[in-house]
């Protein structure tokens, strides 16, 4: 009985083996084709990735060149901005000197207030980010500066007999 049972097991194993062998034999071509197509797909993928990495490298080089050029331009613009601001401050100092030299008895506090207001307008203009607003504030500053110069000129020419630059002070009051 044991012998029959063992023989049955051996038979089953052998039949499984022969079925496996038969399946392998029948599908040999398919397996080879599958292997071949797998290799081809792998090669195609590698080629595609190589192409992509070359493209990305090229893009990176262009990007770096573009960035360095833009940074250089931005740096120059920053330097110019600071220079412009310093020049504005110098012109405001000159404005103060001009009004003081015209109105010889002008109290320092009034001259300081005029200068301070001009500086306030300048900073307002400088710190505004919107272009239109910036332009509006720049015009306001220029108008203020021209009013101060006009007052000084009129006083020097003797057309204005007032002790203080009234038009300038009114301008400050209005704003």
């Amino acid at each position: 009985m044991l012998k029959n049972w063992l023989l049955g097991i051996v038979d089953t194993l052998q039949s499984l083996k022969s079925a496996n062998l038969k399946w392998n034999n029948e599908n040999q071509e398919h397996q080879a084709a599958l292997k071949h197509s797998r290799v081809l797909a792998e090669r195609a993928l590698v080629a595609e990735l190589k192409k992509r990495s070359r493209q990305l490298k090229h893009e990176l080089t262009i990007l770096q060149t573009q960035h360095s050029a833009e940074l250089l331009m931005f740096k120059t613009k920053c330097k110019q901005d600071v220079k412009d601001y310093k020049q504005y401050l110098e012109s405001l100092d000159q404005l103060k000197d001009s009004i003081q030299s015209s109105y010889t008895h002008l109290p320092e506090a009034v001259a300081f207030t005029i200068h301070h207001h001009a500086k306030y307008l300048l900073n307002e203009m400088w710190e505004t980010t919107e272009f239109e607003e910036k332009m509006r504030r720049e015009i306001q500053l220029i108008r203020f500066m021209s009013t101060v110069h006009e007052d000084a000129r009129l006083y020097l020419e003797g057309k204005n007999k007032e002790v203080l630059p009234e038009r300038t002070l009114k301008f400050i009051e209005k704003s």
């Binding site: 992509r52 990007l63 100092d93 109290p107 300081f112």
Partner: protein
């Protein structure tokens, strides 16, 4: 295949143990002792084989993983990812460099403004000092000292508003 061998060794070891038990039952002690030794040997052999199979499996997996990691497609894929990261980093670097330049520009502007403010306040303080000296005969000693102290303090504090008020105060006192 090796697993089958190991399992076979286990099965035979069990069979030999059973045989040894039977031999012991039939008082064949010497043969039973040999059979037990043989069964133990088979058991150790099976264990050793299983351990070796496990070690071999780990090494094989490791080797396959390394092979895959260094394969051409994986290397190219890593290169592409690296390039993409480089691009992102370039954008980030550009943004922060611009931010840095803006910061330094603003700092330089503020410095110029502070310098100018200092010069203007100093001039105003000097003018107030001059006014005070002129008005000295009109003021009491205590008031004069107090005003002088205030002028020095406000100049040190760079307080333009307070200096203007002080100037106004001196003018009012002098007019009286």
């Amino acid at each position: 295949m090796l697993i089958r061998v190991a399992l076979g060794l286990f099965a035979s070891c069990l069979a030999v143990f059973l045989l040894a038990k039977l031999l012991l039952a039939f008082t064949f002690f010497i043969v039973a002792a040999f059979a037990i030794k043989f069964a133990v040997f088979l058991l150790f052999g099976a264990f050793f084989l299983l351990v070796m199979i496990a070690i071999f499996g780990v090494i094989n997996n490791l080797f396959q993983a390394l092979k895959k990691y260094f394969s051409t497609s994986e290397r190219e894929y890593r290169r592409v990812t690296f390039m993409k990261n480089q691009q992102v980093n370039a954008h980030r670097l550009f943004y922060f460099q611009r931010l840095q330049l803006t910061y330094f520009k603003e700092r330089q502007r503020k410095k110029a403004l502070e310098k100018d403010d200092y010069a203007q306040i100093t001039a105003l303080g000097a003018a107030i000092e001059l006014d005070l000296q002129r008005s000295k005969p009109l003021l009491s000693k205590a008031v004069f000292r107090q005003l002088k102290r205030k002028n020095r303090l406000y100049r040190m504090q760079q307080n333009a508003k307070a200096l203007l008020e002080l100037h106004h105060q001196i003018a009012t006192l002098t007019d009286k």
